[in-house]
């Protein structure tokens, strides 16, 4: 379990990996990836009990599902940096014959990925299935799922929320990447999410809040959710993040949702991020 200083150091490298992956192929989604770099780092290097030798069925370990699959660069970086596959393989992101598909997939056998995602709104349902299975197996480990905020416009998510509350799926912790942005602009301009907390509460979930860039808050809040697990209610953590966090010209705008920086921009971005673990 890494301490906050170590986590911050890893996250800086993860952000470099994100920029370098998308810049190399001039495609991919840097904005949401950068915004979740701190969260992913905390999950894989501090919170979750997981086995990087990777077993698809995930028995007796915590399981993580990513619903907003387009932020694959951050997941790939963190999986590689925590030993699921060689860091060098990040070079193959989005290339032909790669295991690192544009959106996460199981099809090529990339360790760490348990279901494909990309078409939005499906991850919470899948995570519920895994959580129900853990209960049947008397497996006390937890299931985590990250979903985007714009993604909550998909109706399937609300089907899933109803199911989880009705059936007391209390070994499941959902986290919302609440950056307030989606492809066409701010959520509030596209389709507002309105009273986010009220919506989840009225669907029967317990709601926690955290700052997705404050390490003490991340660790404290997720651990609090862990302690609350098994008490009869599914939980969501509404995580405030800034899209593009860590690179000044990318921060807080939807402009970099799905656009890669050019060579000059890439250099400016990398100059803002320390190479702490060595670039691949």
């Amino acid at each position: 379990m890494k301490d906050v200083q170590e986590l911050k150091s890893i996250a800086s490298q993860v952000r470099r990996d994100i920029i370098r992956q998308v810049a190399a192929v001039n495609s991919g989604h840097p904005g949401g990836s950068l915004g979740c770099a701190d969260f992913f780092t905390v999950m894989y290097f501090n919170i979750m009990e997981h086995d990087n030798s990777f077993n698809m069925e995930g028995h007796n370990e915590d399981m993580f599902f990513l619903s907003n699959g387009h932020i694959s660069p951050v997941w790939y970086s963190v999986l590689a940096r925590s030993g699921y596959f060689p860091v060098e393989e990040l070079k193959t992101f989005r290339l032909l014959n790669s295991r690192l598909q544009g959106h996460p997939a199981t099809h090529e056998g990339l360790p760490g990925i348990r279901v494909a995602s990309g078409s939005l709104g499906q991850g919470v349902s899948v995570a519920i299935g895994a959580a129900v299975s853990k209960k049947l197996n008397k497996d006390a480990k937890l299931v985590y799922v990250l979903t985007g905020d714009g993604e909550l416009q998909e109706g399937q998510v609300w089907e899933a929320l109803m199911y989880a509350a009705h059936n007391k799926v209390d070994n499941l912790i959902a986290v919302v990447d609440w950056n307030g942005q989606q492809i066409d602009g701010p959520n509030d301009d596209v389709i507002t999410l309105g009273d986010m907390e009220g919506k989840w509460r009225s669907f029967g979930w317990d709601v926690l809040h955290m700052d997705g860039h404050d390490y003490d808050d991340l660790i404290k809040t997720i651990n609090k959710a862990k302690e609350n697990a098994g008490k009869g209610k599914p939980q969501v953590i509404l995580m405030k993040t800034a899209m593009g966090k860590g690179v000044d010209f990318m921060e807080g705008t939807h402009h970099w949702h799905g656009k890669a920086p050019n060579a000059e921009q890439t250099q400016i971005a990398l100059n803002q991020l320390d190479e702490t673990l060595g670039d691949y």
Partner: protein
């Protein structure tokens, strides 16, 4: 040969599904039954009673049901996600495509009330495109059994295989004539050997084809070969090519659209390996409507007589 398939009884294919699920529940504790508010219609009441902890009531939320099935399968369970065929396929195509098929999850999608024979509920529920949608998905096994017994065999068979499968059956009471044994996924069943025309039938229309074979023989002195194609994918190419090579004329019969159905699959094999004249007994680019099953099958050209006429017509173009 056809007399081996004596009609013993009439039972709904979905009743066979319920019986097999009950048996599977006892046999394999990894089996999970899921339903979207149609437990009685899918005949899962016994499973629910016998294994309440392994029965999942998804409510009227089919998309969530398919997603949960993918999650259950990820952890090694064998989920049977069930509802009416319309809601099990078209409504949740993207969920099946991404979370199940592309992710190669061991999910069994089991669908009742397929086709016209659900009757009075009308076209909103009478899906005639489901075989096409499901067979297009890479890696998906597609099975359309013909009677109560064959549904039982098929349900057990898909539990044994690893990978996603679509099992399609129906609502009405229907003649029972198949043995429970001798079912193998992807292996067509020769029901009547013949020399003049090959009839490839699937689902409820296997019964119509049996009756048509008798009429062709008694009234027209035509020796028709009848092959029961319960598995649309993977298709038994050898059985189709052996028969078509012998007879030089083909009829396909199914309770589905021509586009995307068994007929399309058969035509694809024939066009590539042994071009053969073919007639289709299938719904021709149309929605259904309310009515009694027999009336609907008749109106939309899926009756016994339609198969007889198709056989006579295609024999005129026989390559033999």
């Amino acid at each position: 040969m056809l007399d081996r398939f004596e009609i013993k009884d009439k039972k709904a294919t979905r009743d066979g599904f319920g019986k097999a699920m009950s048996e599977l529940g006892q046999k394999n504790d990894q089996v999970i039954a899921m339903c979207a508010d149609l437990t009685g219609s899918l005949k899962l009441n016994n499973f629910q009673k016998e294994h309440p902890e392994r029965f999942i009531q998804a409510g009227i939320s089919e998309a969530n049901m398919i997603g949960m099935a993918a999650g259950l399968a990820t952890t090694g369970k064998i989920p049977f996600a069930t509802t009416f065929a319309n809601f099990a396929t078209g409504r949740v195509y993207d969920q099946i495509r991404q979370s199940v098929a592309y992710s190669h999850k061991n999910v069994k999608i089991c669908a009742s009330h397929a086709g016209l024979t659900l009757g009075e509920d009308g076209a909103t529920h009478q899906i005639l495109e489901d075989i096409g949608m499901m067979k297009m998905l890479p890696g998906m096994t597609v099975i359309n059994p013909c009677d109560y017994n064959q549904v039982i065999s098929a349900t057990h068979a898909i539990a044994e295989m690893n990978g996603p499968a679509y099992l399609r059956f129906g609502r009405p009471s229907w003649p029972v004539f198949m043995p429970e044994e001798g079912f193998e996924i992807g292996k067509a069943i020769m029901m009547q050997a013949g020399s003049d025309v090959s009839i490839f039938a699937t689902g409820h229309l296997v019964y119509h084809a049996m009756e048509a074979v008798k009429i062709l023989k008694s009234q027209h002195s035509i020796n028709a070969e009848l092959i029961n194609i319960h598995t649309i994918k993977p298709l038994d190419n050898d059985a189709i090519l052996n028969s078509a090579t012998k007879t030089g004329a083909v009829v396909t019969a199914e309770e589905h659209q021509r586009n995307g159905g068994l007929g399309d699959s058969v035509a694809q094999v024939l066009a590539q390996f042994h071009p053969t004249p073919q007639e289709y007994v299938a719904v021709n680019d149309s929605f259904g409507e309310s009515g009694k099953p027999a009336q609907l099958l008749d109106k939309y050209g899926l009756g016994i007589q339609n198969i007889v006429e198709a056989a006579i017509k295609v024999i005129e173009r026989s390559t033999k």
